[in-house]
């Protein structure tokens, strides 16, 4: 492994955390905090991109590892097919969120909190050690929890407290159980995912169930979804964006549940499929009646999470490929839509559709960007979501045609929802209930570049999806094991 890759594996998660410390205790003033956070976020993004290009362009894809320590004091980081795409994605989303955060909102350590989330997410994606991964997963929620403490909304505080407590408790118990069981089975590094996957030892189903529950909670799957719309509406928006709209839940599903706990996921697949399809439908029907732009994006996210879960639970190569792709593209689409929503909020002081309208006249760039992102989000041909939804549909078709039909209805309803949001925000005359919107500003230059980059990613990935699919091929192969276990379990019954 080249030295720079080795350093990058540490740089990508440690730098944001160090930056957060510097921002929290070293720098005062919104302008300085913004400049410093961007100063850190840009190189992190560049390194993440370089790592993706370096790893993703190889024909024979191999993992690059950085393994240190022994036994319980063990750390293992790697870049592989599953996380190679997520690194620049996370770094990019953080960078764009920082760029589009108004200077006035940089108070109360917002930049530091965003950097902590970035570091935690990077660590989660890079860790090949279940213990470290769990620590990073919990760490990624803490900024939002601290933020909730300072907000007036009591339901939000209770929900965030419950979320952090449930995640911590479930992961702690699961990791202790896994370590004890694996040690007893003779695994040298009991929490190392590579060692666990290559050993004959198979963890108990209850451990897998706990990890699976955390993954579903993080994805926002019904009935574990309450925190997503609550944070989208009541938390500090840019922080909620980088915490909620990330593919960490689906990543945990792929990294932990698929690879280490096939005995849980295989038999649970039909139930997960049903839950995923129901979540997709539930989210879609809730989104269509909303009047708040933030809540629309939140419910749309819940709906898309259901689609991703259904794709994973299909345990078919095509559906899992599609689910992985969908998990990635939804981040860009929902992230972009949420950023535009926040841009509207900053300028119009509201995200209530009943108080908006006619913004395309003053902000044509913003309107165009919203339209393109919305079209991409519902799988318009030429975007990543089109490929992803097509693959999920084709993968599920053989054994679950009814679910495929349901997902088509979801896609149609989501299309109507996002158009309605676009129409009521940007088209027609301004609402009679609106404040004066004549001074509404269009996207600034940097904002245009940032959103333009997101749109370009979606279009490039949509027209040329093969490299993205090829990078994930190794992960998809792991499904074979789960499917085999599911078949064995079926025959056993």
């Amino acid at each position: 492994m080249s030295a720079w890759v080795q350093y990058s594996l540490i740089f990508l998660w440690l730098t944001p955390l160090l930056a957060a410390a510097a921002l929290r205790w070293g720098v005062r003033g919104a302008a300085k905090q913004r400049a410093l956070s961007l100063g850190f976020a840009v190189p992190i993004f560049l390194v993440a991109c370089a790592l993706f290009v370096h790893e993703g362009t190889r024909h024979a894809y191999k993992e690059d590892h950085l393994e240190q320590g022994l036994g319980w004091l063990h750390s293992h980081f790697a870049v592989d097919g599953l996380n190679a795409v997520l690194l620049p994605l996370t770094a990019g989303l953080t960078l764009v969120a920082l760029l589009m955060t108004p200077r006035a909102d940089m108070r109360a350590g917002l930049a530091a909190k965003i950097m902590v989330v970035e570091g935690a997410l990077m660590g989660s994606f890079l860790a090949l050690d279940a213990g470290l991964l769990s620590i990073f997963v919990v760490l990624s929620l803490l900024p939002l929890w601290f933020d909730a403490k300072h907000r007036g909304s009591r339901p939000l505080q209770v929900i965030m407290k419950s979320l952090v407590a449930a995640t911590t408790a479930a992961l702690t118990v699961a990791m202790i159980g896994l370590a004890l069981e694996a040690s007893a089975a003779g695994v040298a590094n009991p929490l190392d995912l590579v060692a666990l996957a290559s050993s004959p030892y198979s963890p108990s189903p209850w451990i897998g169930t706990l990890v699976l529950a955390v993954a579903l909670l993080r994805m926002g799957i019904v009935p574990l979804h309450l925190w997503i719309p609550a944070t989208a509406q009541h938390s500090t928006p840019h922080l909620a964006l980088v915490t909620c709209l990330t593919p960490l839940g689906s990543f945990m599903l792929a990294r932990l549940a698929l690879a280490i706990f096939p005995r849980v996921l295989g038999p649970a697949a039909p139930l997960l499929m049903a839950v995923g399809a129901f979540t997709a439908l539930y989210g879609a029907f809730l989104a269509v009646g909303q009047f708040d732009l933030r809540r629309i994006v939140a419910w749309f996210w819940v709906s898309q999470s259901g689609l991703v879960l259904a794709g994973f639970a299909g345990l078919d190569d095509a559906s899992v490929s599609g689910a992985l792709l969908q998990a990635m593209s939804t981040v860009v689409e929902c992230g972009g839509l949420m950023l535009l929503t926040l841009a509207v909020e900053v300028r119009a002081n509201t995200t209530d559709l009943r108080k908006l309208g006619g913004l395309a006249h003053n902000a044509p760039r913003m309107a165009t960007a919203y339209l393109i992102l919305a079209a991409a989000a519902v799988g318009f041909p030429g975007t990543i979501s089109f490929v992803a939804e097509d693959l999920v549909g084709q993968g599920l078709l053989r054994d679950h045609p009814f679910v495929v039909g349901l997902l088509f209805i979801v896609t149609a309803v989501n299309g109507i929802t996002l158009w309605r949001a676009f129409k009521r925000t940007f088209l027609g005359p301004p609402s009679p209930h609106a404040d004066d919107l004549r001074g509404f500003e269009d996207l600034r230059r940097w904002e245009t570049y940032a959103i333009g980059g997101m749109i370009a990613t979606l279009l490039l990935g949509g027209f040329l999806p093969e490299p993205l699919l090829a990078v994930r091929r190794g992960v998809v192969d792991a499904i074979g094991r789960v499917e085999a276990v599911a078949l064995t379990a079926g025959e056993g019954h």
Binding site: I159, F285, H361, P429, V476
Partner: protein, 446 residues
């Protein structure tokens, strides 16, 4: 004679040239370099190039061996046994409709340069028209259902944006929403048909599916009804036709080329393309005949009762398209194809002519004191007064179809959504309440 590889690339210009033109205009708009003259030049060059390519390709095809020709461009992406192929299919039907599309696009671009001169949305119109052209050509020339769906979606999205062209006004925006909702719902039919073909026939390629349908059992009724449902939405058939008169909110040129002549016939074309598959299902054929006949009758009556010229024309269009559904249902494919091409040409002319024809009619009425419309009204006098009033009321209220859809579909869905939302909000509030209550209880104990 042109070899098949060159032929493929020449014919591919029909969708590719407008798409490339659209991309160039989009880049010009982004760089703020788009002037009317430049945009018009790009659009006309792209459309002309596409038309030329198509003509040369079709000439090469007619000089070659007889029969349909499938042209392959490889696969877009593959995944675990699934392959998204980019194939074009040239046969008599696609050749005729594709040539019609190119011809009408060329005429529209020429007309619109003068008609939309100094309109604020001049550049946007040409961008959307080129994308529409690319989508329509993809739809017509597609060799499989997946590629047809790509064209179908592009046509749908550009149509919606053209209906809402004058976006500062409430009317066009509402109309665009109506169009989008209908299109999205009917997309479910097309998607379902596509995946069902893959599931049971292991292909969505038109020619291969036709062969496979003869060899293996498959749910022809389910697939057939799905296809008819998709076509009903796109072609404004009962009970989903309410969008067509509203679509006339766009510029005259777009009404003519999109809703009068091309877009509204996309559903008919889909049925013609899938006709060998639909023949396996009597239920689908019956549905086509039933839906087409009902639409033909009620749209003809609504057309007569419409107070404005464009609406009257749009209902007349839906009525004729209904007749095409009936023809396809009875297996009269050649007649339906000829009907499609002739009707598209006629409506194109009529829609373009509407504004000036209205002026002429008003001038004629002023000079003569009566018009042809009065003569039409006289014919209805043969009916009794009560019947006449009832029919007139029903016709002008579009037979209450939209009221019924609003009452029994839209409102219940929105009500369900808001009820669920209230439930969610109560759940959130309960979280806070339980915490507060717990603290209050603790306080009381102290």
């Amino acid at each position: 004679m042109i070899d098949s590889n060159s032929l493929a690339h020449v014919i591919a210009l029909a969708p590719a040239a407008p798409a490339l033109g659209g991309l160039i205009i989009a880049l010009l708009l982004a760089a703020r370099l788009a002037s009317e003259r430049l945009v018009a030049t790009v659009a006309q060059t792209a459309i002309g190039l596409g038309f030329l390519g198509l003509l040369v390709g079709l000439l090469g095809w007619t000089l070659g061996p007889a029969g349909p020709l499938q042209l392959g461009f490889g696969s877009w992406y593959q995944g675990a046994g699934y392959d998204f192929r980019i194939d074009l299919l040239i046969d008599g039907r696609s050749a005729a409709v594709s040539a019609l599309v190119s011809l009408l696009l060329a005429a529209t671009s020429q007309f619109s340069i003068a008609y939309l001169h100094r309109e604020p949305g001049f550049n946007r119109f040409f961008l959307l028209m080129l994308l529409f052209g690319a989508g329509m050509q993809t739809l017509v020339l597609a060799g499989n259902l997946e590629l047809l769906f790509v064209g179908w979606e592009i046509v749908g999205m550009t149509s919606v944006l053209l209906v809402g062209f004058f976006h500062e006004r409430q009317g066009p925006v509402k109309a665009a929403t109506r169009v989008l909702v209908t299109y999205r719902l009917c997309d479910i039919g097309l998607l379902t048909a596509g995946v069902s073909l893959h599931r049971w026939l292991h292909t969505s390629d038109w020619l291969a599916a036709e062969q496979a349908a003869l060899a293996s059992p498959w749910p022809s009724t389910f697939v057939g009804l799905s296809l008819v449902f998709a076509a009903m939405g796109k072609s404004a058939q009962f009970p989903l036709g309410g969008w067509l008169p509203r679509a006339m909110e766009g510029p005259t040129a777009s009404s003519a080329v999109f809703y009068g002549s091309l877009s509204v016939h996309a559903g008919v074309y889909l049925l013609l393309r899938a006709a060998p598959l639909l023949e396996h299902s009597w239920a689908a054929q019956t549905m086509m005949i039933g839906v087409g006949a009902i639409t033909a009758v009620i749209s003809a009556m609504s057309s007569q009762a419409s107070p404005d010229a464009k609406s009257a024309l749009s209902y007349a269009t839906a009525s004729q398209v209904g007749l095409m559904f009936v023809e396809i249902g009875f297996g009269l494919y050649t007649i339906a194809t000829i009907h499609l091409v002739a009707h598209a040409m006629l409506r194109y002319y009529q829609f373009l002519r509407t504004p000036s024809a209205l002026q002429d009619a008003l001038a004629r009425r002023a000079a003569l004191g009566r018009t042809e419309a009065d003569e039409g009204a006289v014919r209805w006098e043969a009916l009794g007064l009560r019947t006449r009033r009832y029919v007139y009321r029903m016709a002008i209220e579009r037979f209450d179809v939209e009221i019924a859809l609003e009452r029994y579909v839209v409102r219940p869905v929105m009500a369900l959504s808001r009820r669920l939302d209230r439930l969610e909000s109560q759940l959130l509030a309960l979280h806070g309440e339980s915490e507060r209550r717990g603290r209050a209880l603790k306080g009381d104990r102290r």
